[in-house]
Every structure is written in structure tokens, then in C-alpha cells.
Symmetry: C2
Subunit: 359 residues, 2 copies
Amino acid sequence: MSHNIAVIPGDGIGNEVMPEGIRALEAAAHRFSLDLNFTEFDFASCDYHERHGKMMPDDWRDQLGGMDAIFFGAVGMPDRVPDHISLWGSLLQFRRAFDQYVNLRPCKLMPGIKSPLAGRAPGDIDFYVVRENTEGEYSSVGGKMFEGTDREVVIQDTVMTRTGIDRVLKFAFELAMTRPRKKLTSATKSNGISITMPYWDERVVEMARGYPDINVDKFHIDILTANFVLHPDWFDVVVASNLFGDILSDLGPACTGTIGVAPSANINPEGHFPSLFEPVHGSAPDIFGKGIANPIGQIWSAAMMLEHLGHMDAGKAVVEAIERVLAAGPGDAPLTPDLGGRGTTGELGEVIAEAIKNG
Amino acid sequence: MSHNIAVIPGDGIGNEVMPEGIRALEAAAHRFSLDLNFTEFDFASCDYHERHGKMMPDDWRDQLGGMDAIFFGAVGMPDRVPDHISLWGSLLQFRRAFDQYVNLRPCKLMPGIKSPLAGRAPGDIDFYVVRENTEGEYSSVGGKMFEGTDREVVIQDTVMTRTGIDRVLKFAFELAMTRPRKKLTSATKSNGISITMPYWDERVVEMARGYPDINVDKFHIDILTANFVLHPDWFDVVVASNLFGDILSDLGPACTGTIGVAPSANINPEGHFPSLFEPVHGSAPDIFGKGIANPIGQIWSAAMMLEHLGHMDAGKAVVEAIERVLAAGPGDAPLTPDLGGRGTTGELGEVIAEAIKNG
Ligand SMILES: CC(C)[C@H](C(=O)O)[C@@H](O)C(=O)O
Ligand SMILES: CC(C)[C@H](C(=O)O)[C@@H](O)C(=O)O
């Protein structure tokens, strides 16, 4: 079985870590006899925007729609193109047009990575954030009135639908069913956001009826962020709206010290459209060009992509290779400076690829 | 000069910690020769709701409007009254009707309190969150359509005004001017929330023009929450919209280990209406009735109230008394169980009151 994979490096360090992601995929393909075909695209980048006055060609849907998956780097160079233009013109389009309504991010304390939290060790923190990825607070409905006067007012709608909420909840409950602890936490704010969030809560209660084996709880987003820091061991699967999920899926990896290495998947579970896999970190203009960007987020995203394509063993092998190299530490592996080492992006990518090949 | 203070214990442990807040205020009044008159109100509680079918009497504005300040405990008992009813029927009414447009919360690592963050000591973390407190994401505009069908959709507006944003920014910039580091961080999400948040950013840029001495930066809320955990020392004054401020002002105290003891002020800076002072913690139904609630949040809120009423020395004396008792540790002071001690609410309140008196 062969897979056609769209490769979009995007901006900044996206271009530096992408080759290492591909190298890891090629190593896995070699070991597990997979047939992966890569097609690279230069759009969804600020370079493209500067040349064409837009982030993507008009036929981007046709170019990407037939692919089996999209392997993505990072997008955004705020000094050159405002973020709301670069992001809404690319990544956020993919999520919507390809109905990638689940954004999935593991929050896992990895060996050799220092958590900023006191007294936590690998195994202590291991949960998923499941984020609604197409609606909610990220709407483009609204506008401005009395522009340029003291009475100026801006309004933006949060839009939640039963369909939109239920399908991401279903994904989260199903994921919780596969986990030993069978626990699901819902992020809400129904005490303050008085229309949409009580509705979210209702749908959670309704969905929970169908999953009597799942232990369900909920927290308001303010105290939930506090509990990520105070009690990260409480969590197993955390499901959240678009904005709350965005916050929790940066905060979670921050608590495990892995924000620079965490992966994410933007999934269309039905497979009607390609899903997209990208590191959590952004384009990092501040370190771009130095060759020191950590490629693990891109490589770990490759693992999620392999699993999504049905190659669980290959995905697992990639994650294990990452764990082995991290556990070796900066003395024995060319870890990048953010991990206390002196390796380059390419050197670290190379040892991980070797580790994948050697199993 | 005498001050009329409305006392509203509210729900749950609000009733247990409030007497200790009053005791501290009486100690400070004694030492600094202040004339404080307390009037207690039983509304803004779920008890009241059960008796009257509403959270407050119709003339609550008249009863409270002439007061110099409101000293508040906590509200909400979700098993008895849904949160969006109890909160929107009381606390959130006060904030709006009394135009308490600034919500101010210190995030400070205190002696004797263990931070969940590794390797942080008192002095390392000391910043304020300034939260917009009357508009933004907490609007009551919106509704539901196609109710009860698969097409069900709920919509809620975020509403931001130039007036509303500018006045809270001004407060934050002025606060930053009083601090040695003169640094202000704006919480945004203009890369995803594409209408309101770019407007927020514009107003920050505009306001910053008037404060050339202030070092201004901004972070998107997702990475900002991560940075609270990774680099809490970066922050001095953090200004945020209603929802983002709500999140940051729980997360900040969580990072300093003080969520159970942190205070907050809901301020009408012009003094046209009474300001309200309350602990960050809620009514904590799980520990209510056991006499073990930590009264420090209520007492620290009393200190903020004294400062607001112009008695800086008295406010400072209360905070110093708290710090002295905390530094003594559970061996020498009757700290409550959450602080590793075996004291009761009353015992801890008493030693703090003594410490205030003795200076
Ligand atoms: C109880 C709730 C409505 C309230 C808020 O979100 O404003 C609380 O979290 C707070 O921060 O005071
Ligand atoms: C870049 C930004 C628009 C995006 C988001 O908020 O969704 C990012 O933070 C993410 O989480 O993928």
C-alpha cells in the first residue's frame, strides 16, 4: 500500500526541521517496507505571500485534496505578514476545508526532558488534549462599528453547533475507552460564558450517557489551567473547545517540558479529507537560520501520521527511537541547545533516523 | 475618616473565612486608628436564592451603592443553583453595575509556600494580572437556534469597546509606571481570534505611545500560559481581556502555590461606585463545614481594600503579618491543612490578627 504525502515546510524553522521529519519517515519506511511518496509545496508560507500577494494558490484544495496526509512545518512570520493573515490564509483554512475537526496533542513527560514542575518523573504525566478544531471561538463572524470614534465597538461571535460539538466529544470518549484509566475531563467556563458553555456542558452530559464506563469530570478553564500545573497526574483525556483546547495544548506540553518537541495531529476521522500533522512549536523567527532548531516535534508528528495511516508499529518505533535518543542525554547524543546539548538540527535528526532503522 | 463597608460572606467557606477577614480588619483599625463600620448582607448566596427565588433583592443597588467598599467571600453552590445563575445573579452584576472594570490580582511567591514550579524561591515571582472586568467574552448577547434538533447552533458574542479597552489599559500602564521594572505584557490571540483580538492589539500600541518609559511586549494566550510556567520571572504587569485575565489570574497564583490564599480586587478606579474585594478561591463546597478553610485569601483581600481606601500603611501591615505567620511554618503557627499544618480557620485567623496588632 502506498501513501501520497504532501510536504509543506512553511516558514522559518519549518524549513529546517522538515528534512529531519522526512528522514525519519524514510527510515521507518525502509524498516517497515512502507511506500511513501512525498510531494513538496512552497505555498502556505510568507515567502509565497510576498511573491503572490496571498498565502496559497486558488486551486490549493485540488492540489492537496487527493493526498493521504499533509506533513506540515510551521507558518507565520509576524514581521513580514500579520499573523491573522498568514494563519487564516493557510493553516486555519486547511483545518476547515479538510474538516480536520479533531486537534490531538499528547502531553507526556519524556525521559531526559526536564519538567518545569517540581518532583515529576516520566510516567507521572501522560494525557491527551482533544481540541475542537473547526468552529467555536475561532469564527470569522463579526465586525466593527463607529470606527475611528470613541464609541468604537468590535464584536466577534463564538459559534458552536450540536454536530460540531458531538463529533469531537465522540472522538474523545472513544479515545478514553482505549486508555487504561478511562477518564475524560471536559474544559468549560459555563459559570462566566453563559450561553455557549452551558450548551457544551449539556452535550457532554448527553454523550456521557452512551459511555457508562468512562469516568467523566469537568473544570472551568481558569482552575483547569491551574490544575494542569498542580495535579497533571489527574488527567487522561481532556476535551475542549477550539480556544480552550488551543490554550491547554500549549500549557500541557509546557508542563511536561516538551513544548519544543511536542507533536500535533489535525484529524478528519472519517478520512474524507487528508489529515495534517505538525509540531506544536511555531516558525521561531528568533532562531531561524542558526541550524539549532529541535527537529523532534516534526519527527514525533511523523509518528502520529504513520499511526493515522494505519502503521501502528512504525509510529511506535519512531516514538521509541525519540525516547532512546532523549534518554541517552546530551553527553551521548547530539541534542540541540534547548535540550542542553550542542548538536545541530541535522545531527539530532540523523541519530534519531539511525535509531529508527536499528530498532 | 470613617468607612462604611458592606460585608457579604456569600456561600460555603465564604462564611468561614469572612469572620477572619473582619478580625484582621479590626486589628488593623485598632493599630492605625481607623474607623471601619461593617454592615452584613445575607444576599448574593444560594441560601438567599432558595428562600427568595433570586440571588438578590430588587433594591440591591441602593443598599450597596452608597458603601465605600464591598468585602466579599465567595458565591456558588453548583449542586443547589447552577453556576451561571448564581454568578450572573450576583458577582458578575456587581462588577458591571458598579463599573468595577479592573480586576487586579497579585501573583507573588510568598515565604513558606511551596511553588509547584521547580527551583523557584520567594522574590523570583512577583507580578500583577490586570483583567478587564466588565465586557469582552463575558457578554450576555447571543442565543440558540434550531433548538432540540441536529442543526442546533448556539452563538455568543464577544463585545469589546474602545472605552472599555482603553481604560483598563490605562490602569495597567499606570500600575507598570509605579513598578521598578516598568514592564507590561499584553495577552492576545490575534492570530486566531481574528476580529476582536487584533483590535485589542491596536489599542495597546496606541496606549503605549503615551508611555515611552514602559517596556511593552505581547504573547498569544496559548504560549503565554506556557510562559507563566516556564518563565514566570519575565512578568511584571500582565494586562488581559476578561476571559484571558480570568485564566491568567488563576494560573498565576497556581504557579506561586498561592491559589488558596490569593486575593483579588474588583476596582472602580474613579470611585464613583464601591469596589469589591474577594479571595480568588471559591466557595469550596467539598471542605465547607469542616473549619479548615484557609482564611488568608480573605485577609489578604482586606489588605487590598485598606490600600484602596487610602490606608497604605495598614494594608502593608496586614500583608507583612501574613508573611510573618507563613514564614513561621506549620511547626510554629497554626497553619491550615492545605499549608501542611493542623490549625483551624479560626486559629490561623487569630494569630494573623495578633501579628497585625503587634506590628
Ligand atoms: C466565578 C466566575 C464567574 C468568576 C469569573 O470567571 O469571573 C471567577 O472565576 C473569577 O475569576 O472571579
Ligand atoms: C497559530 C495559531 C492560529 C494556532 C491556533 O491558535 O490554532 C496555533 O496556536 C495552534 O495551536 O495550532
